[in-house]
């Protein structure tokens, strides 16, 4: 055992791993927990505004964007000092946001007003408000940045917003309460999770004549009531091979083969697993477990849970710094 840890230590020395910071928004304790990705130790916790949920970072890793839902704004923090540098207007009750890969603008869903708000992150002004379906939630941007996707929870649609003129060009009906959307890196597939419908809709965004729903992926876990299989957060590996799905109160991550759309594995994690993020090298996947107040570290290649780390109360979102 000692030998093993010695070996492990030397192998660590041989290939120095750069630590990344993991930021977790804690919806109930109103804090952001900071974890270092080599030691997996909590190194700090700071106030994140009231009811922090959606969390993302600027491409250069310098700024942290937090949707402070009960403050009706986005709080922007310095990722080094954890000091709030400014706030962005968001409209009421911001929940999820997606940042343009260039770092500007920020696309936000406002559940209360049935709007997607486009915010200029430099001038800190609202550029546009786009009327969408009832209770907009999930936000995604296509790798070629041509489309922003918004999912509306009561309308049950994925809206395709053209980033050129900010007009909705296509709508795809999906199952009940779509929560999250994500593209594969090659832009060939769009996945939308339907929490209450219990499915992932697979959409071909590039089909002739416009985007088309190609299939739906369902879930089945022995001894888990089907109504608790509620897909929410999504992440797909950059080699376009594996889709990871957080299954909410089923306390599991489903691993889906992107090629065949088949579920190949269920990984047991903490309670009410909600959102996900990879470390930049995609060796690890982190899951927020809202009802067990921890995050789970998953080995992506082995598709295994490695450990869990206690964070604040009701962790909701997670983002890993790119550097």
């Amino acid at each position: 055992m000692k030998l093993l840890s010695l070996l492990f230590a030397t192998s660590l020395l041989a290939t120095p791993v750069l630590a990344n910071k993991v930021f977790v928004s804690n919806e109930k304790s109103n804090t952001i927990t900071v974890i270092e990705s080599d030691s997996w130790e909590v190194i700090d916790e700071f106030h994140g505004g009231n009811r922090p949920r959606g969390i993302t970072m600027s491409p250069d890793g310098k700024l942290l964007y937090v949707c402070a839902s009960d403050d009706d704004l986005v709080r922007v923090f310095d990722a080094e000092t954890y000091k709030e540098v400014y706030t962005l207007p968001s409209g009421p009750d911001p929940e999820l946001a997606v940042l343009h890969p260039s770092g500007n603008p920020l696309f936000l869903s406002n559940e209360d007003d049935n709007l997607v708000t486009v915010v200029d992150t430099e001038t800190r002004t609202v550029l546009a408000e786009i009327p969408v379906g009832v209770e907009p939630e999930g936000m995604a941007i296509s790798p070629d940045t041509k489309w922003v996707i918004n999912t509306s929870e009561t309308t049950n649609m994925a809206h395709f917003i053209d980033t050129e003129d900010l007009a909705i060009k296509h709508n795809i009906l999906v199952d009940q309460r779509p929560r999250y959307a994500i593209f594969t890196q090659d832009g060939s597939k769009l996945f939308v999770s339907s929490e209450i419908g219990g499915t992932i809709s697979v959409i071909d965004p590039n089909a002739e004549g416009g985007p088309v729903l190609t299939t739906k992926i369902g879930f089945e876990v022995p001894n888990v009531q089907p109504e608790w299989l509620q897909p929410v957060g999504l992440r797909v590996t950059s080699d376009n091979k594996w889709l990871f799905v957080a299954l909410g109160p089923a306390n599991r991550i489903a691993v889906i083969d992107v090629e065949t759309n088949e579920v190949v594995k269920y990984i047991l994690v903490g309670q009410r697993v909600w959102q996900l993020d990879f470390t930049p090298d995609e060796k690890y996947l982190l899951t927020t477990n809202g009802n067990s107040n921890d995050i789970t570290v998953i080995d992506v290649d082995a598709q295994k849970a490695l450990k869990s780390i206690q964070v604040g109360q009701q962790p909701w979102g997670v983002v890993v710094s790119p550097n």
């Binding site: 009561t154 649609m157 419908g197 729903l213």
Partner: protein, 397 residues
């Protein structure tokens, strides 16, 4: 199978992009019977003029937002009537060509109106809770959004059993609907293995519900009424007529929790419910109506959303197509209850979780953990398929 599915998706896309040239019109009528009633014990329970109708307007907006992306036009028409004029009001609605109808009325009137409307009309019972409507008296053209008394009683008693308050005393009112609700509680106690320690009847002697400083009398009356009760863990109050239930908490001789018509109440919805995205529902409702939501508003909202969802998925607006789809296993709807709601194909009852509400917050949601079922845990509430005496839905069986 995959090819067929892809073709279907293709068709759907065609529909999505076809635009308003083929606008599908969907018109639903809401008929509410206003009964002569005494004022409620609490002014929190006063019935606003737009009770139910506000839910219909909100649901129509929700439907129309989706409809505007699909080239569909949704509309609702609200009518309030008296018990005497109800038949004529229905006839007028039918003469205007409506075949989708939501009814807010008592059990007997719901049944009569459904029969009068006939098989070509799909009637959604928004608020009537009698278990008979779902059993012997069920009708093929009548679907039930409101939970039955049996479902409500099961929701409360499951929680009591989860708490290990297994010795339960029942106090029911003296009117027929109170006794019927009381029977549902007796059934629930037996169903979940509790023990009914005793049953008391509180007599409705008529008169006003509220008087100035009436609490002085209540403070003497209720301890007297309950002082001979034997040992019990919890009191189940069955007070459909809203006569005495609210007087029980704190006034009973023994300090015991009350569930049912007072204390911890099983409800379809309440204005403080925030879980599962309900906050947005509350804010939309309040912005629209200028008041807090009541159960009847939510139930009518749900009825109109059921129709909307069926229209959106089938691209049809006729009663027969919608009824088939609503009763099929394809139908599902998110209703701010944490899991999808759908219908029991043996009696047209909407399956739904029920919220246990203490008048301030959501205390719990039934079905409770551990009450399992081979089909849906929601079928642990109310009459399950093998117990049902409804035969009008046999073709779906």
């Amino acid at each position: 199978m995959k090819a067929a599915f892809a073709a279907l998706c293709g068709m759907l896309l065609l529909v999505l992009t076809a635009g308003s040239a083929l606008a599908l019109e969907v018109r639903t009528a809401i008929l509410r019977i206003d009964y002569p009633e005494l004022l409620p014990i609490s002014r929190f329970d006063l019935k606003p003029d737009d009770l139910g109708f506000a839910g219909a307007v909100l649901a129509n907006e929700d439907n129309q937002t989706t409809g505007s992306f699909l080239g569909m036009e949704f509309a609702v028409t609200e009518r309030a009537t008296t018990p005497e004029d109800a038949d004529a009001a229905l006839d007028a609605i039918l003469a205007e060509g409506f075949d989708l109808l939501v009814v807010m009325a008592r059990d007997g009137d719901v049944l009569r109106l459904a029969d009068r409307a006939g098989d070509g009309v799909l009637v959604l019972n928004a608020t009537a809770r009698g278990s008979a409507l779902r059993n012997d008296a069920c009708r093929a053209n009548l679907l039930h959004i409101a939970p039955s008394n049996a479902m409500v009683a099961d929701a409360a008693v499951q929680f009591a059993m989860w708490k290990k308050w297994s010795r339960m005393a029942l106090i029911h009112g003296s009117n027929p609907e109170d006794r019927a609700l009381g029977e549902s509680y007796k059934r629930a106690v037996a169903k979940f293995g509790g023990r009914l320690s005793e049953t008391l009847e509180f007599e409705d002697t008529g008169g006003s519900r509220r008087t100035d400083t009436g609490h002085v009398l209540v403070q003497r009356q209720i301890p007297l009424f309950t002082q001979k009760m034997g040992r019990h863990d919890v009191v189940l109050a069955a007070d459909a007529s809203n006569v005495f239930g609210l007087y029980l908490p704190f006034h009973m001789s023994d300090p015991r929790p009350v569930m049912g018509s007072a204390g911890l109440r099983p409800v379809t919805f309440h204005p403080a419910h925030e879980a599962w995205g309900a906050t947005q529902y509350q804010r939309r409702f309040e912005r629209l109506s200028g008041r807090y939501v009541q159960e009847a508003d939510y139930e009518v909202w749900l009825a109109i959303r059921v129709i909307g969802e069926a229209v959106i998925r089938t691209n049809a607006a006729d009663a027969a197509t919608l009824r088939d789809y609503i009763l099929s296993d394809k139908f599902e709807l998110a209703a701010f209850k944490g899991q999808k709601v759908n219908f029991r194909d043996w009696n047209g009852q909407l399956r739904q979780p029920l919220i246990l509400y203490d008048s301030k917050i959501t205390v719990s949601v039934s079905p409770q953990e551990g009450y399992l079922h081979q089909t849906s845990t929601l079928d642990t509430l109310g009459y399950d398929r093998p117990e049902s005496t409804c035969t009008a839905f046999k073709e779906n069986g």
